[in-house]
Amino acid sequence: MEKALKILNEMKRKKIIGQYAIGGGVAAIRYMESILTYDVDIFFIPSTPDALLLDMTPMITFLRSKGGKADKECIILEGTPIQLIAVYNDLVTEGVKKALPVIYGSVKSRILRKEHVLALMLQTGRPKDFLRMGQMFQEAPPSKAVWMRLVEKYDLIKLWNRYREKYGDPYKEGR
């Protein structure tokens, strides 16, 4: 993964992509004990954020020149499947902009904050996202104020209530 991050940093330096941040399962691992995942989600802001269509050609050409191979929805970089996801809504965009710097081995990178990781899990809403949410709320809960600000700002209240009905309120005392 370290080598893959180096390549992504080079891609950013060359302005092929804008700012990026690690998300998904790997970002969750930053805050809790390891969970099983097989790819690295990279959320990025396109270098031309206002364009109506995203041209992936420069990215693919660059990654191929670095030995990257397309496999399903990922590009395998140095043996690590990387899924490049252009920011697709305001929540993801905020997540990338407010991501935390992280030093991984010898490489500087950025990783989503825990509240954004959780909010994206809530928004995505697959069973595995809810399972991971439960674990993350147990091991690394964001402050309730920070969490509720995000839930309200991005209109996630219905999803949050549904989650609480099904799995209980992680902020309730005694849980």
């Binding site: 993964m1 930053r30 099983l36 097989y38 399903k72 081995g105 091991e139």
Partner: protein
């Protein structure tokens, strides 16, 4: 069947130990956790039968 006080005490010690262990694991550096992840991927890959293998192979390096 109700639990005895002794059983309750043992359970609470077990829960507290589990919580402490999880918390210690959560504080490990990301690269250490990614090494653990790769070990988990290898076990998962090796134990899944053909046809139910994960979409990707275990990573080559952390």
């Amino acid at each position: 069947m109700t639990r005895t006080k002794k059983e309750d005490k043992i359970l609470s010690v077990l829960r507290a130990s589990k919580k402490a262990r999880r918390s210690a694991l959560a504080r490990l550096p990301l690269k250490v956790k990614i090494r653990q992840l790769i070990e988990m991927q290898k076990i998962d890959w090796a134990t899944k039968p053909e046809g139910r293998k994960p979409r990707f192979r275990p990573w080559l390096s952390p």
